[in-house]
């Protein structure tokens, strides 16, 4: 149960990091994040599950596909929108529109069936009294590696510095000679790729269908609301909280009551701390 919690938490952290990245850089909430997760899962399903491509090669393909989608969204939709928006609701509605579009494209192309893939590695590890299938361990390790890699990238590379600068102050970043439009598109692509990677990883454990997008978007929202929107450690913390809550809830309670309780808990939590655990007070 707790091990399941760890597996979930680590993967959720990937999702939460992706959405946080996009949110902090562009102040856009990516409503299509869950849909990107879903597309990542489908890329793995087709490449690895159907055509027998190496699993790790398909993960690379996921990054490429989602990166292009994210880049196009930023380039063709959001950049245009920012230049002509009159009300702040517009960019939010645009994001909702992209989610709707992606979800229904997926429905038309991939159908409604639940899809799964054969396990990447077989075998079971016994840790204490608990059994951990090797597949889950692999997913967990890969996700951990990705998270650490991302944090190092954002902290120490030139591009990462530009991304952080953009998140702090747009105008000053312009002044420092950074090509803001390009960096923003890159950030969006990176966020989308993270969502897709999480999809490609969790796909091997839970399978996927065209309808999961909204569910995962909502999970991503919950995580960043728990942790505080736009804050990297907050996103990880939120993922840990949600991952364990879900794992424990599913083990002890029947069906969808777990999420009902999580929602109720969230609303009560926001009553006392609307800015999340680590967010700064605002408004």
């Amino acid at each position: 149960m707790l091990l399941n919690g760890v597996v979930l938490a680590v993967n959720y952290a990937l999702i939460a990091l992706g959405i946080t990245l996009i949110f902090s850089i562009m102040n856009i909430l990516n409503f299509a994040h869950g849909q990107m997760f879903m597309i990542g899962g489908f890329v793995v399903y087709y490449l690895y599950g159907l055509f027998g491509v190496n699993y790790f090669a398909s993960l690379v393909a996921v990054v490429a596909v989602l990166g292009v989608i994210g880049w196009c969204f930023e380039k063709f939709f959001f950049q245009r929108m920012r230049k002509m928006a009159t009300r702040e609701e517009n960019s939010m509605l645009l994001a909702v529109g992209t989610a709707l579009l992606l979800e229904n494209l997926a429905l038309s192309f991939f159908g409604e069936k639940q899809r799964g893939v054969p396990p990447v590695v077989s075998g079971v590890f016994k840790i204490g009294d608990a059994f951990l299938p090797a597949g889950r361990l692999l997913v967990m390790v890969l996700a951990l590696v990705l998270i650490v890699g991302l944090l190092l990238f954002v902290q120490y590379t030139k591009l990462g510095r530009a991304l952080r600068a953009l998140a702090q102050d747009r105008e000053v970043t312009y002044l420092m000679g950074v090509n803001v439009d390009r960096i923003a598109a890159l950030g969006f692509a990176l966020g989308a790729a993270l969502a897709g990677l999480a999809g490609g990883l969790l796909m091997t454990v839970f399978g996927i269908n065209s309808g999961v997008g909204t569910v995962y978007s909502i999970k991503a929202f919950i995580m960043i609301m728990i942790g505080g929107a736009g804050i990297v450690p907050g996103a990880i913390l939120g993922a840990v909280v949600l991952g364990f809550a879900e794992a424990i809830g599913y083990a002890l309670l029947p069906g969808s009551i777990t999420y009902l309780l999580i929602f109720v808990g969230l609303i009560v939590f926001l009553l006392f701390r609307p800015q999340g655990l680590m967010g700064k007070p605002w408004g």
Partner: protein, 344 residues
């Protein structure tokens, strides 16, 4: 402090309201004539088309609620949740306790409004995307609640065979004949009546002091607080009004379709309500109505593309956002006035 707001409102209202008022009065009279005389005469023999119009009327009634929350500057994605609440209240009361639909209808609205006020009070402290995220989660939460409601909501099987609205007797006289599921005409009149009432109410509201208070909340809550407006009170008021409309709309659909399931209103429906408002134009009272009628009717007429309805909705939303960010009505006003419409 209060004087400052009172002095400011009539002055601004007089300046911008003059042309706005006559435009809207003219439009509204035409609308009433069209709805209560034109449509029954023209389409009275086409029950299918009447059904479509009924759908569009109540959908735009519900969207009008979303429009109110837009006017206080919040993007409300919970409208589907409150429509579901209203629908279940009517379905449960009508099937289990045999209470007349005419009592259930306002009661459903009331339950939704109270629930909206209770949930809205903490939730409305959130702004922008935070509010949108929470309301989106709420839509999902209420759906799960209905799914896990056990004997009360009957879970995934839903509540079926809800009796249609019955007769109203006043002083021994039959004022409203009983509805039957075979004839959509009474439903149409009820829907049109609801829409007309809702429209008048929201129109009066947006031209009154309250409407100006709501708009001031959208522009700057801190400033509104500083001139003595009780921000928390007014935003809860706007939100529960919006929930009231969702509740009554949901109750109507239960009577119209005679069933309700947890999946009757999902996140996609909440998004559609936003889309109707947005397509028509957020700055115009008629925006949600134009948007809903246009989309619902055009999709009913184009049977061939119905499978792709949601896909086209998504594409349309993005297209509008990029090419027509102020909605369809902004086109018309710009042409007639010869100037761009004001932002506020």
């Amino acid at each position: 402090m209060d004087q400052a707001t009172d002095n400011r409102c009539p002055a601004t209202a007089g300046e911008a309201g003059g042309s706005l008022f006559s435009w809207q009065a003219l439009g509204f009279t035409g609308f009433l004539l069209l709805v209560f005389v034109g449509v029954p005469v023209t389409f009275g023999r086409l029950p299918y088309f009447i059904t479509v119009l009924t759908n569009a009327a109540v959908l735009s009634f519900i969207s009008l609620g979303v429009w109110i929350t837009f006017s206080i500057g919040r993007m409300n994605l919970a409208q589907g949740a409150f429509a579901l609440v209203g629908g279940y209240v009517t379905a449960i009361l009508a099937t289990r306790y045999g209470i007349s639909f005419w009592v259930c209808l306002p009661l459903s609205g009331l339950v939704s409004a109270v629930l909206g006020a209770l949930i809205g009070w903490p939730m409305l402290r959130l702004k922008g995307v935070y509010f949108a995220m929470t309301t989106l989660s709420l839509t999902e939460a209420i759906r799960l609640l209905a799914l896990n409601g056990g004997d009360v909501t009957k879970g995934a099987t839903g509540i079926v065979n809800v009796p249609p609205p019955g007769t109203i007797w006043i002083f021994g006289r039959m004022v409203v004949p009983p509805f039957s599921s075979a004839d959509p005409m009474p439903y149409y009149f009820l829907a049109a009546g609801m829409l007309a009432l809702g429209l008048v109410a929201v129109w009066r509201l947006s031209n009154s002091r309250l409407g100006w208070v709501f708009r001031s909340l959208r522009q700057n809550e801190d400033l509104a607080t500083s001139i003595g407006i009780n921000v928390a009170k007014y935003r809860v008021m706007a939100f529960s009004l919006c929930c009231f409309m969702a509740g009554t709309g949901g109750a109507f659909f239960v009577a119209f379709q005679q069933n309700i399931y947890p999946s009757t209103y999902t996140v996609a429906d909440s998004v559609n309500f936003l889309l109707y408002c947005f397509l028509g134009g957020l700055d115009y009272l008629f925006g949600p109505i134009v948007g809903a009628f246009l989309l619902v009717i055009s999709f009913e007429l184009l049977h061939a593309i119905q499978d792709y309805q949601a896909l086209i909705y998504g594409a349309l939303m993005i297209f509008c956002m990029l090419c027509l960010p102020n909605g369809i009505l902004s086109l018309r006003l710009r042409r007639f006035d010869g100037r761009r419409n004001p932002k506020a």
